[in-house]
Amino acid sequence: MSEEVTAEILMTHILDLAAEGKRMDGRGPDEYRAVSVEPGFVATADGSALARVGNTTVLAGIKLEPGKPFPDTPNAGVLTTNAELIPLSSPTFEPGPPQPGAIEVSRVVDRAIRAADTLDLTRLVVTPGEKTWVCYVDMHVLDHAGNLIDAASLAALTALSHATVPAKRFEVGDADYPLEVQHYPVECTFVRLGDTIVVDPTFEEEQAAQGRLTVATDENGRIVAMQKGLVGAFSPDDVKEVVRRALVHGDRLRAIAKGGPR
């Protein structure tokens, strides 16, 4: 049987199950996989966290370096977010320049971090217009079993909230100090399978999906970012339902991200 035919059968099966409110791994439509975060995984980083969502694993590392502010925002630090979908993590990724998928992950995670004012960028400035901390958030996908955005977002948020500003090492101050996190945005992703909208899709569910919708919420119940992806459509009522569900999952995911030992 050709690969295409196999894939076709699998997708039909997933859609048939969804029509009955079931999923291949036994979860219900609004059930998230097991989630864990391990902050401090990488000693060479100024902050890091390994996040697992089911079998999906993403490692985020933070590095802070002195640099220049952008000319048009002399009073703001610089935040740079990058996701690497390395071919180690999935048979579907190829070596080479970042693919659109990797760019989308990094931009959606970046958007939530930025829109939620996760960091007070003005506090990263050392001398306005001259010198500021540049904060790099690098997300390394190690195992891609679906729902990269949520796993990457959890890894990034946990890494940021456990990061240290290396002031002493760069001779900017007398001592290193914790990076302050003001808000805790987390992404929550859903896919549509026929008339059923399921949370936290597996890789196979993403293949079968008729639209993906990600909603990032903060601890005040605000929506800070959204992204519809993949082929497919959502009605405005679908979106409103997804937002309601994302707020509930968001609170639980946020607790996990915050809960790691400091």
Binding site: G101, A115, P236, V239
Partner: protein, 250 residues
């Protein structure tokens, strides 16, 4: 929203509830759509929308390039959204940046959701969007232009794809933000609608909104899309009128 650390914030909403260009909160900027603006492309459209100028061209169905992207059961739909170096205040370095690549991806996925791609297996339908002058809302202007260009090229689709961004300025939900509103507003929410089904095939958001504000934004955006839809159809009618010999049988 990209202005942390910037200093001056303009007054976005007058005491009378009018915006900096005098519009009401639910009012679109002026839009002009010209179908068939180019000669080489299989389909094309030029859109002036407020102070945006966007050109779109469609080529295909044609041979897939690069070849390994070819699909046996349908056409691949490729999209390149690009901004001219001089289209923004600070010159943009030529070449695709990450923002352009993300926008190209979500626009391609929006059209894949409505084009009957399975009618043209092993081919490519290539959509090119060039932003010549930018003033917020270029991805929506590009979607509208590309959608008209696809129709101009005769590509069969479920429906046209009107698109518009809704935002939040001075705490109020507002339709179709212009540059200053986008820069100093609190949220931006671009969307593209399939009028026939009432479903959204593009939806992004950045900023701060309560669930209620979001719901209101969706409703306002859908109304805006339906308004734009009428202008898109009018542009195509004008195009067909120009090409069909007057008084002849179809």
């Amino acid at each position: 929203m990209g202005n942390v650390g910037a200093t001056e914030v303009p007054v976005l909403l007058s005491p009378e509830g009018l915006r900096i260009d005098g519009r009401r909160l639910d009012e679109l900027r002026p839009i002009r759509i010209e179908a068939g603006a180019l000669h080489q492309a299989d389909g094309s459209a030029f859109v002036e929308w407020g102070a945006n100028k966007v050109m779109a061209a469609v080529y295909g169905p044609r041979e897939v390039h690069p070849r390994h992207l070819q699909q046996n059961n349908k056409a691949v739909i490729q999209c390149k959204y690009n901004m001219a170096a001089f289209s923004v205040d600070e010159r943009k370095r030529p070449g695709l940046d990450r923002r352009s690549q993300e926008i190209s991806k979500v626009i391609a996925e929006a059209f894949e959701s409505v084009v009957f791609a399975e009618e043209f297996p092993r081919t490519s339908i290539d959509i090119y969007i060039e932003v010549l002058q930018a003033n917020a809302g270029t991805r929506c202007a590009g979607l509208v232009a590309a959608s008209v260009a696809l129709a101009d090229a005769g590509i069969p689709m479920v429906d046209l794809l009107p698109a518009v961004a809704v935002g939040k300025i001075a705490g109020k939900i507002a339709l179709d933000l212009k540059k200053e509103e986008d820069n100093f507003g609190e949220a931006d929410l671009p969307m593209a609608l399939v009028p026939q089904s009432g479903r959204l095939v593009l939806l992004q958001m950045e900023g701060h909104m309560t669930p209620d504000e979001l719901a209101a934004s969706l409703d306002l955006g859908v109304r805006g899309c339906r308004e734009i839809y009428e202008k898109m159809k009018a542009a195509l009618r004008e195009r067909y009128a120009a090409t069909v010999p007057s008084g002849g049988t179809p």
